[in-house]
Symmetry: C2
Subunit: 181 residues, 2 copies
DNA sequence: TAATACGTTTAATATATATTGAACGTATTA
DNA sequence: TAATACGTTCAATATATATTAAACGTATTA
């Protein structure tokens, strides 16, 4: 086995693992492989080069790159004299993790919170509505109480994401392991 | 509009929002709706009742319940004299969030770490192999350095998940907002 | 024991999503 | 200007996943 072959084979193992687990970021293995291709590449790549390497269509590459841009996992690169768009990974794993929460979780927290608040308001109206049956009003009360627990959680989650965004989380869980005493 | 109708409509909004955003937990909207059904139910439900409420097959309910059990989002309930299996939500949003990391993220971290470690070992061999070309050995060195950065990140992530599992994270981001001074 | 009532598995189907080739718009070059 | 080289969009297709009906195994009841 020659050196290059050994290199490719060694890389293949982590590419496979990373690509498979990339679903935690809400992307497919294909997109994961593209990310890995860029990760191991020693230079920015064009859509045509990606297409060539992965044996996929240019349209796919265009879409895949866009999802990666969305997640802040890659960025455009420029090089004098090159007209094609070039892309490189933003090789900061911590930032990648934090960005996931800012891009995906934050909007979800916001949506859910708004929905819950609006619903609680409606349920309170129902509870105060004399025309409603006792049973319905009772259920409204129960729902309100359950939903308020959710609000507490979403507020917490929002504050947790704040500590990701500000990187304050690193004060609590430091990047480097503590030295053993 | 009568009370019950108002109740259903109020619930529908949060059900929709929650179900849609449940993809962050790696489950489909259908499973999300089942979760919400159980959440709002005032009693444990059987597969047949779920099937009835959601208009889906029993097989679907069986599979959906299993994913929710997997994520620790529901649990079995027993009631004297009832032979059918009964299920209720585990209505602890915080625990639900922590469990996601223990069930999904932790194994991913573990898999990726192992793959990376094994690959680094192979690359080190390659780097020390006199027969390999200088170019390949150089690339191996570069890869090793990049992969070691990932190891630092995964180690950190593992420790972060530790703070979820032990709930120490709540020391840093408390459940209740701090009172304003 | 036989008969019934469960939940699960399996194989088939329906649905959603990923992927593609071709058409399109825009910028660059000649 | 016309011609070429891009990246993107769109409609068609391929693939993966969700969903189902039917078969199955097990426990319970009579």
């Amino acid at each position: 086995m020659d050196g290059n072959e050994a290199l490719q084979q060694a890389r293949a193992r982590v590419i496979e693992a990373i690509s498979q687990n990339m679903n935690l970021y809400g992307v497919t293995p294909s997109i994961g492989r593209l990310y890995c291709l860029l990760f191991f590449s020693d230079k920015p790549l064009t859509l045509d080069e990606m297409k060539e390497e992965l044996g996929m269509s240019k349209a796919s590459m265009s879409l895949a790159v866009r999802s990666l841009l969305d997640l802040n996992m890659v960025e455009k690169a420029w090089r004098k004299g090159v007209r094609k768009d070039l892309y490189v990974v933003k090789d900061d794993s911590f930032q990648r993790f934090f960005d996931l929460f800012m891009k995906k979780w934050r909007p979800a927290v916001s949506m859910n919170t708004k929905a819950i608040e609006k619903t609680i308001a409606e349920l309170e109206e129902l509870d105060e509505n004399e025309a409603a049956s006792d049973e319905d009003r009772e259920r409204a009360k129960t729902d309100i109480s359950k939903l308020q627990n959710w609000l507490v959680y979403y507020d917490w989650l929002d504050r947790l994401i704040d500590t990701f965004e500000s990187k304050e989380i690193l004060d609590f869980v430091p990047m480097e392991k503590k030295e053993k005493d």
